[in-house]
């Protein structure tokens, strides 16, 4: 029982960065923009959050700066793809290359520095309950925020007029424009949201999950988040499920490795998240959820007369 609880407690922080980054990408893709730059934006978020927290001593400033920095990168991407109509795939790759480089440059002086981990939200009474206490009431604020945001995103997309317009832009930009909806503006906002969320995910990594900065510390989580969006068929609810499934797998992998259950080299264990991602993509394609893909995803749009 204790083992299981400890496992479950470990899963939650492992799932949180995936959920945050994937939520942002989900909104961006529902508006019709495929942003492959999540990994780069996460790295910039991680380093900015870390650097600002270390320098100012304020975790809130750090998290805010992380969101802002990644959103600025996303703005560059949005300008390229939405205003200058550049290819979204190529621009997303450029964003990842730029973000990885920029993060390494900013973080060069911060490697190996310590930082205070984000405080856990201890609720007097509740956090002391056996099992349930540490499982549900002893995480940092970003964990709860990620779940609240997932719920809010779901409500926004399905229950609000703005969400309806955003979906319309992703399904058929031409028709949305013809009806007088601001396609480009909507897409800008969606991409900026995606950037801010990737920044938040990065800040969570460098301030909470492994409170430190090291180059390429995201280790492909940005790309896994992209795969999760496909896995979730572009639905926030399923995204939560997917992120926790993945978080669980990555923790399981660590457990198996630590307890020497299988006598395999550590690299084989380290491969599992990537191999599982491929496996999941295959399974999803067999289930044929194609119609869930926003129809305008990845296509440039230019308002004509």
């Amino acid at each position: 029982m204790d083992q299981v609880t400890a496992f479950l407690i470990a899963v939650i922080p492992a799932a949180t960065p995936l959920l945050l980054a994937a939520l942002g990408e989900l909104v961006s893709e529902r508006a019709g923009v495929l942003n492959l730059g999540v990994e780069g934006m996460m790295l910039v978020g991680a380093v900015t959050g870390f650097a600002v927290t270390v320098t100012t001593g304020s975790a809130i400033s750090g998290v805010g700066a992380a969101m802002l920095a990644s959103a600025i990168l996303a703005l560059g991407f949005a300008f390229l793809t939405l205003t200058l109509m550049a290819n979204q795939v190529a621009s997303g790759l450029a964003l990842t290359i730029l973000g990885t480089g920029a993060a390494a440059l900013i973080g060069a002086g911060f490697v190996g520095m310590p930082v205070e981990r984000l405080p856990h939200l201890d609720v007097p009474g509740l956090s002391d309950l056996p099992v349930v206490g540490p499982l549900l009431f002893a995480h940092d604020a970003l964990v709860y925020l990620s779940l609240i945001l997932a719920l809010a995103t779901g409500l926004f997309l399905n229950r609000t007029r703005a969400g309806l317009i955003l979906r319309a832009c992703g399904e058929d930009a031409g028709s949305a424009h013809a009806l007088g909806h601001p396609v480009i503006l909507t897409r800008y906002l969606a991409v900026l949201f995606g950037g801010a969320m990737a920044g938040l995910a990065g800040a969570f990594l460098s301030l909470s999950y492994t409170p430190m900065w090291s180059e390429a510390m995201t280790a492909g989580r940005g790309w896994i988040a992209l795969a999760l969006v496909v896995f979730a068929s572009w639905r926030p609810g399923r995204l939560v499920l997917g992120a926790y499934l993945f978080g669980g797998l990555s923790i399981l992998q660590l457990y198996a490795q630590n307890m020497g259950i299988l006598a395999l080299p550590s690299q084989v264990f380290a491969m599992t998240p990537y191999l599982v991602t491929i496996l999941v993509l295959i399974l999803i394609s067999l289930r044929r959820a194609r119609s869930a893909t926003p129809a305008s995803l990845g296509q440039s749009f230019r308002a004509t007369q």
Partner: protein, 516 residues
């Protein structure tokens, strides 16, 4: 009458570069009037109504609404005045529900429940049955048009502009639409009806403004003039129609389809059911039908873009080709002009030389042993340009730089230039100007006279009835037996086109909400 005019457009001019799309146009429409705006493709109808609806700004001229001068600088402003518009191409989102689609078109948001109620009410009042909770993807074309009309009516317009509304409907659905429009007009709303279908205009409208090359050539009462007279006004000269005597089929079939079954692809695909068809040398067989009844699937199967379940389901000069790809079928003498020019029959950014290679490399030997023969391809492209009078900036011009009609002539020329045994052609004159359409029709007739078998898919019944020797109708994936042209009158074809489909949509669907 001028005092009472609902909308008056005076001296409207609009140019694109050096091209005058509208030149000094006057148009007046009274309350409750159903007026037609007539003209060929490119005569300036679309530009004029886009100005009225605030999509385009005129270079000169004034607009009066109920006698007061107004500036309409956006569709929103137009709707605020009381102008509604139903576009030819729907602005609908397939994965969304009817309700969501309607909500997206409203300027003032309103609660979903209240909106659903209003939709039900309006659709009941005007005989436009719709279930607000149904997904658009599951609806027929006729039902989709109803959404557009209901969406426009919800704003309680006093002028409704309809852009070519019947091009997607069966003759029976057209009748239903006309009943609805008359009811709307009786309630005081004016209707501006854009069309080039003269019989329809004569049945519905009490007045008509005829445009030609951006100018008004005449205002008339269409009920008092013959279709032929009006057509002459639209085109400017007496139309020389390619009349063709029906040829009785003879000899062995060059293209034969035997019991072709093909499952639908994707969520909205239509399955083909036991299709039987034979096209003989020297014969043109027309296939009529409303879009979305299996045309795309049939064309894919016949062209080889999709393989059939068994080789013997399609025979080309007796050879089973059902499982061969387009290249092998072309080598056996097949040619194909698809419905969509840009992106299917031609690659827009590529030159005409490259586009010649695209469709003719197999039969005109524009590639050999894996290498391109640019010189030959250029000669071939030049020959096509010359033979079909393609207006373009030479063989190096990108396909996208040609007008629709000229690109279609190029594609048609590229295919006919291969001297095919069988030509499959879809919507050959869609969006093509009258002169080019006539040239394309002549080329098809000539090809048939030289012994080729031609299969013509078209939604334009006039086209089929002028060209085809026999006519079959495709409905919900089933093909009717081919009728000789003299037995294929409009009404009979219309009933076949409607099939179960039309019946289903007029008596309405269950009102039970469908979970999206």
């Amino acid at each position: 009458m001028s005092a009472a005019a609902r909308l008056e457009m005076a001296g409207i001019s609009k140019s694109f570069g050096s091209f005058a799309a509208n030149a000094d146009i006057d148009l007046k429409i009274a309350p409750s009037e159903i007026q037609a705006l007539l003209g060929e493709n490119g005569a300036g109808k679309s530009t004029l109504v886009k100005i009225a609806y605030g999509v385009l700004a005129p270079d000169a001229g004034s607009i009066l609404w109920n006698g007061r001068e107004v500036r309409i600088d956006s569709p929103r402003a137009a709707r605020a005045l009381g102008i509604g518009m139903v576009f030819q191409h729907f602005s609908l989102f397939e994965p969304l529900t009817v309700l969501e689609n309607v909500a997206l078109g409203l300027d003032r948001p309103e609660p979903a429940r209240a909106l659903a109620e209003r939709i039900r009410r309006v659709s009941k009042t005007y005989g436009l049955p719709l279930d607000p909770n149904q997904r658009v993807a599951d609806l027929s074309t006729g039902e989709r048009q109803r959404i557009e009309i209901v969406r426009a009516l919800l704003a309680e317009p006093s002028l409704l502009i309809m852009d070519e509304p019947t091009s997607v409907l069966t003759p029976q659905e057209v009748q239903t639409l006309f009943d609805t429009l008359r009811r709307i007009a009786a309630d005081g709303c004016s209707i501006l009806y854009i069309s080039h279908k003269l019989e329809e205009v004569r049945a519905l409208c009490s007045s008509a403004t005829v445009l030609r090359r951006g100018r008004v050539v005449e205002r008339l009462d269409p009920r008092e003039r013959s279709a032929r007279e009006i057509a002459a006004l639209m085109v400017g000269t007496e139309l020389v129609e390619s009349v063709r005597a029906a040829v009785p089929s003879q000899g062995p079939a060059r293209l034969e389809v035997r019991g072709l079954d093909l499952p639908g692809q994707g969520t909205h695909g239509v399955a083909l059911k036991a299709i039987d068809l034979a096209v003989h040398g020297g014969e043109i067989v027309g296939i009529a039908g409303i879009a979305g009844n299996g045309q795309a699937e049939l064309l894919a199967a016949l062209s080889g873009e999709r393989r059939s379940p068994r080789p013997g389901m399609i025979l080309l000069d007796g050879a089973p080709v059902g499982q061969l790809g387009p290249t092998s079928r072309r080598r056996l003498g097949q040619a194909y002009v698809p419905e969509e020019r840009n992106g299917h029959g031609a690659v827009g950014p590529m030159s005409l030389v490259d586009n010649a290679i695209l469709g003719a490399w197999q039969r005109a030997a524009l590639a050999a042993r894996g290498w391109l023969r640019h010189g030959r391809a250029r000669l071939y492209a030049e020959a096509v340009i010359q033979a079909f009078d393609v207006r373009c900036g030479g063989p190096g011009a990108p396909a996208a730089s040609l007008s629709g009609g000229n690109l279609q002539k190029f594609i048609m020329g590229r295919e006919i230039g291969q001297d095919p045994a069988v030509l499959i052609v879809a919507q050959p004159t869609w969006g093509v100007d009258a002169a080019a359409a006539a040239a394309i029709h002549r080329a098809l007739i000539e090809l048939a006279e030289n012994g080729a078998a031609i299969l013509l898919l078209s939604q334009d019944l006039d086209e089929i009835l002028t060209l085809a020797d026999r006519v079959a109708v495709l409905n919900e994936g089933s093909l009717s037996p081919a009728l000789p042209r003299d037995q294929a009158d409009r009404e009979r074809l219309g009933l076949l086109m409607g099939g179960a489909h039309g019946a289903l949509s007029t008596d309405g669907r269950s009102e039970a909400p469908v979970a999206a």
